[in-house]
């Protein structure tokens, strides 16, 4: 999702500048997030270009990332790119849900409220795949976790 900055996505947890050294803390969205190395590489690259010769990237595992941390700006960027932004994440004990997850979504392309889930697992771990019943276009929904 290149339209989001790491801060928009909520994975950027902390930055500390101490003279020439920058310490950046990031957290993975999902345990197996394959983008962590790329995020780290991008951070080092951008900060080096910005004049910080020493960049340290730390991984923070707790608290676990939540889709609630995606910023308002990030949500607007997602919608502008044709993706559906997550609703509030569930909190507390998790019950088994045997019927399809209910989400009140609108199609990011035509605005229709008539949508149906195709799969809870989309092109990446953080997205579910939906389809608009009116314009028939499939679209990605960023999942609530």
């Amino acid at each position: 999702m290149p339209m989001l900055t790491l801060a928009d996505l909520g994975v950027l947890r902390d930055t500390e500048v101490d003279g020439e050294v920058v310490v950046v803390s990031i957290t993975p969205t999902y345990s197996g997030c394959p983008a962590m190395a790329t995020m780290r590489d991008d951070l080092v690259h951008r900060l080096t270009d910005a004049g910080f010769p020493r960049v340290e990237v730390r991984v923070v595992l707790s608290p676990a990332w939540s889709s609630d941390w995606i910023t308002e700006h990030g949500r607007a960027e997602l919608r502008a790119a044709g993706l559906s932004a997550p609703g509030p994440a569930k909190k507390g004990p998790v019950g088994l849900t045997l019927s399809p997850t209910r989400r009140a979504l609108t199609c990011p392309r035509c605005g229709s409220a008539r949508t149906e889930v195709i799969s809870e697992f989309g092109a990446t771990a953080c997205k579910a795949l939906y389809r608009c019943v009116d314009c028939f276009e499939p679209f990605d929904h960023v999942k609530e976790i």
Partner: protein, 303 residues
């Protein structure tokens, strides 16, 4: 380094890196891995291997489904769940190595293989601590649905308790895993219903898979002495303590699906030893042979 090439990011830009394995970054970089006071590092490492090997081995079995699922969407779903489990395995194996470096296989001096990869690729079957449910050979689609249902119900119950662990790494891995396993369990439960209420053929296959896998379920909710010891220290979870809860969730699915609970007895250990003790079925050796062959052929391979 030329940052305009996407391959630089993939390769980490460091030619000293090992050419294989999951990634090029220590997944616990910057995380405090001090062993909690009063806990034996060796026991903590063994416990992390138990949980981590479950997810590593099951992840490999799910990855074998890639391009073979009945629909593209389910192919992607299985790959996504495999990735979640692999991510959990990386953290748990790295945590095991940090808790007790003695568990990591010794490779030739100067070997570029990180500890988590040494644990994944250079241990023999008898050193794996996973439950046997994770390792048995894949069957049809009903088989993977039942395997994931049985596993995710028990694992979710354990992780919910483990998120309060006295070990900060285990607590963090568990809190994150709860979110992921919730999706896995829902996926498996929904497919269980769909197959049970589908055609005569789908129901027959589902019931057959449940009967076949049922003897392997007990190991998920049976405590090993290491689990008991760490549970007593407030660091681990006694899986026998979640037996009632997993029964209740499973009964909920079985009731809606109108499928009877199988009556088959648990698969016995050999001389009392089961997967948690490193006693496995033949399937694990064969699976590891495929998973490990390239890494073992090129232990010093670099990009």
């Amino acid at each position: 380094m030329n940052h305009d090439s996407v391959y630089d990011g993939l390769l980490g830009g460091d030619s000293s890196q090992w050419a294989f394995g999951t990634d090029f970054e220590d997944p616990l970089a910057g995380v405090d891995t001090t062993v909690p006071a009063g806990v034996d590092g060796g026991e903590l490492a063994a416990y992390c291997l138990m949980l981590g090997d479950d997810t590593l081995v099951l992840s490999q079995r799910l990855a074998e489904w890639c391009s073979r699922a009945p629909e593209l969407e389910e192919d992607i779903a299985l790959a996504n769940m495999a990735l979640d489990l692999l991510g959990q395995a990386r953290l748990l194996l790295a945590r095991a190595a940090a808790a007790d470096p003695a568990v990591v296989p010794v490779l030739p001096a100067g070997s570029p293989v990180p500890a988590e990869d040494a644990l994944a690729f250079f241990r023999e079957a008898g050193q794996f601590r996973n439950v046997r449910l994770a390792e048995v050979v894949n069957g049809d689609f009903a088989h993977v649905v039942v395997r994931l249902l049985l596993f995710s119900i028990a694992r979710l119950a354990v992780l919910q308790r483990l998120s309060g662990s006295g070990d900060a790494v285990l607590a963090a891995v568990a809190a994150k895993g709860v979110k992921e396993l919730t999706y896995h369990r829902d996926w498996a439960g929904r497919w269980f219903l769909t197959l049970a209420q589908g055609t005569e053929e789908s129901r027959k296959r589902l019931v057959s898979a449940l009967e076949q896998l049922w003897p392997l379920r007990d190991e998920l909710v049976t405590a090993h002495p290491v689990e008991l010891s760490l549970a007593a220290a407030g660091v681990g979870v006694d899986p026998a303590g979640v037996r009632d809860e997993t029964d209740a969730v499973l009964d909920q699915v079985l009731a809606v699906a109108e499928v009877d609970r199988p009556q088959r007895a648990p698969l016995a250990g050999i001389g009392g030893r089961t997967g948690r003790d490193g006693m496995h079925t033949e399937a694990l050796s064969r699976m590891l042979a495929e998973m490990q062959v390239v890494a073992r052929a090129h232990p010093s391979g670099r990009w």
